[in-house]
């Protein structure tokens, strides 16, 4: 059953259209994540749902009720802002209470809810503090609490963690996940940190310039990106792209040339003429030092970054011919691997792991063998 439905919504600011005829179904009791580069319209869509912006056209439904003309307060949404937007002059308790008072709940009820939320969010000791007396993480929790106590139909998060430092972010990430599960609430979560996207989402919606590029479960989107953009956007370090050229072999089969020597055989139902420029993508974690693998990339190491538990090796590929542009790839290898900067290195990969993209970016259905 669907909790939030967007039907052909568009959003204009003055003349510029930011969101183009976008339709989307957000299942209830699930967490849907909007990801996309900065400026692609994530916040705008969220604000349209909340009612902070009016849609220029199309309809917004919450629990099957059309809410285009309903004021934000009555839409039953709770929002957590990137900057938290706490009321600086109220202490934590009052911050949470403000919304409830306008709901006209009985005092006891109000108190109970706040107590509960504070407990869940481990804010009980801080109820009397003013926002500026709190740490980033605590403020963040207060912001959530403020949404929580109103028991909204839908939670809206706009980059709630992006103001926290790395360590805290990881911590809060897990908390949010847990919390949501335990509440079984519906939530829409905007971020451009794709670790958050991957870990939190039941469903990922990848946006680009106000359009939906792909939606699906995180792993599905991660492993079967429909185009180059999605592929490059998820995963860090990002997927490596290596230019190549197609040579048609027999029926339904073809060859991929990318560096000197051994082309890769693969089969496809797609039709193309021989010589088409393509790119194939391979993720850093799928590159290993293993000469036995069918795919091999030769190049010169130009940087090695050792994180304690792993090492990122940056490889400058040898070019098929001088006309070719320089290509670099990154491989994630075990931290204790031995390799020197400026030495030659060959990275192996399993062709099944890699994706073919046409020059205009869409993925080319194919199976290597």
């Amino acid at each position: 059953m669907a909790s939030v439905v967007l039907r052909n919504i568009a959003k204009k600011f003055g003349k510029v259209e930011i969101v183009h005829d976008l339709s989307l179904v957000v299942e209830s009791n699930a967490l849907t994540v909007f990801v996309g580069p900065s400026g692609c319209g994530k916040s705008t869509i969220l604000r349209c749902i909340a009612g902070l912006e009016e849609v220029s056209s199309g309809d917004v439904f919450i629990d099957n009720v059309r809410v285009n003309d309903v004021v934000p307060f009555k839409r039953g949404v709770g929002m957590v802002f990137q900057s938290y937007a706490l009321y600086p002059h109220m202490n934590v308790y009052e911050n949470m209470r403000f919304g409830l008072l306008s709901l006209g709940l009985p005092k006891a009820e109000i108190h109970a809810r706040i107590e509960k939320a504070a407990e869940i969010l481990a804010l009980t000791p801080y109820l009397q503090r003013k926002p500026k007396q709190l740490s980033g993480g605590q403020r963040q929790r207060v912001a959530m609490g403020r949404a929580l106590v109103r028991q909204p139909k839908v939670f809206l998060f706009d980059e709630p963690l992006s103001n926290l430092d790395a360590a805290l972010r990881t911590k809060m990430r897990v908390e949010i996940a847990r919390l949501r599960k335990s509440l079984g609430a519906t939530a829409i979560y905007v971020t451009h940190d794709q670790v958050e996207a991957m870990t939190l989402a039941d469903k990922i919606v990848v946006l680009r310039a106000g359009r939906i590029e792909q939606q699906g479960s995180p792993l599905d989107v991660y492993h079967n990106p429909v185009n180059r953009f999605v592929a490059s956007f998820l995963g860090s370090p990002a997927m490596n792209f290596v230019p190549g050229r197609l040579r048609s072999g027999g029926a339904k089969s073809a060859q991929l040339e990318f560096q000197k020597g051994n082309p890769l055989e693969f089969s496809t139902n797609a039709s193309f003429q021989s010589g088409t420029e393509v790119e194939f993508g391979i993720r850093p974690e799928h590159l290993t030092i293993n000469p036995d693998l069918r795919g091999q990339l030769q190049g010169k190491v130009f940087a090695v970054e050792k994180l304690g538990d792993q090492a990122l090796v940056h490889l400058m590929l040898d070019r098929a011919n001088d006309s070719q542009a320089e290509t670099t790839v990154v491989a994630r290898l075990p931290w204790d691997m031995k390799c020197e900067v400026d030495t030659d290195l060959s990275l192996g990969f399993d062709p099944d792991r890699c994706h073919l993209f046409e020059s205009h970016g869409t993925r080319l259905e194919s199976s290597f063998h």
Binding site: L52, G78, M79, Y87, P88, L101, S102
Partner: protein, 317 residues
């Protein structure tokens, strides 16, 4: 700690020569330059304000008369102050000043707040409104005072005409004649003249409030009024505090408005009018100076009191 051990021991090289140090200090010492930079301001103020003020202080203890300033004046101690404090007119003037300041500052604040809120909205013709609001501010006080005397006139003044046209008053009111209406009339002029300043300051304050706090409030409450009183107002309190102090300082020293509109009249005069009368018209320079000093002390203590009163709020936001 092992770090300490590994620190090599360099000889502490001979510090740069005294002259070089001094030169460097001169070039880069912030405190030194701070004072250098303050010098022009301080010197100017000492000259144009400090010296005359001290003169006033001194004269306030003498029997100086305007026309005999540089002839020998004799020291009379607190006689002048005593004279003033025992003069009923002074107390009337003081009361008037307070009433006037209070009324006008309060009205200005309310009105200014309203205007600021309107200006803070996005709507067509906003910059036109902003411009229009600034007009009264741009008109010299002496002139606007004349304009208003003109409009207040009971026979051919436009205000009466307007009011009667609207049926607000049955017959012309002589606004400036009776103390009761006169005070009101004066306040109106002052409000008209200085509300723009108030509105601007408050508007500035409003624009400091982060947009998303409003949005959060919109999600939390359906009623604009609650949002205004619970969120907006508390957040612009510091601004209002500052605006009020600026205005109060002026209002308490109001002069030309009263001077032009009703002249030196005891029952609607202010302390500055009183002081001027004593200084200029009655030649009693000693007494006049004493009055000025009293005004200064009065305003000064008021200011400090006020600053102290609003301190907590100011730290809030």
């Amino acid at each position: 700690m092992e770090a300490t051990a590994s620190v090599p021991v360099f000889p502490i090289d001979r510090p740069a020569s005294a002259f070089k140090r001094w030169q460097q200090w001169l070039l880069y010492s912030r405190v030194f330059w701070a004072w250098v930079f303050l010098a022009p301001t301080l010197i100017t103020l000492v000259l144009v304000a400090g010296r005359p003020l001290l003169g006033t202080f001194y004269l306030s203890f003498t029997d100086a008369e305007l026309l005999t300033l540089d002839d020998s004046v004799t020291w009379v101690g607190f006689k002048n102050y005593a004279a003033i404090l025992s003069d009923p007119d002074w107390w009337v003037a003081l009361r008037n000043t307070l009433v006037f300041s209070f009324l006008s500052v309060v009205l200005e604040t309310l009105l200014g707040l309203g205007i600021a809120l309107v200006l803070n909205e996005e709507f067509r013709g906003r910059s036109f409104l902003r411009a229009a609001v600034l007009v009264p501010w741009a008109i010299p006080t002496v002139i606007s005072a004349k304009m208003w005397t003109w409009m207040y006139n009971d026979m051919y003044g436009v205000i009466n005409a307007g009011f009667m046209a609207l049926g607000l008053t049955s017959e012309p009111v002589a606004w400036l004649s009776s103390p009761s209406t006169a005070m009101f009339a004066l306040v109106m002029v002052d409000v008209w003249k200085t509300t723009p300043f108030m509105a601007l300051l408050i508007l500035a304050g409003l624009q400091l409030i982060p947009k998303d706090v409003y949005e959060a409030a919109k999600l939390d409450s359906g009623s604009p009024f609650r949002i205004f009183f619970k969120i907006t107002l508390p957040l612009i309190q510091p601004t209002i505090a500052i605006a009020v102090i600026f205005r109060a300082l002026d209002a308490l020293r109001v002069f030309d408005l009263f001077y032009v509109l009703i002249g030196s009249k005891v029952d609607t005069g202010t302390v500055t009018i009183y002081a001027r009368q004593r200084l200029m018209e009655f030649q009693e320079f000693g007494v006049g100076s004493a009055a000025s000093v009293l005004i200064f002390l009065f305003i000064g203590s008021f200011t400090l009191l006020y600053l102290w009163a609003v301190r907590p709020q100011r730290d809030e936001a």
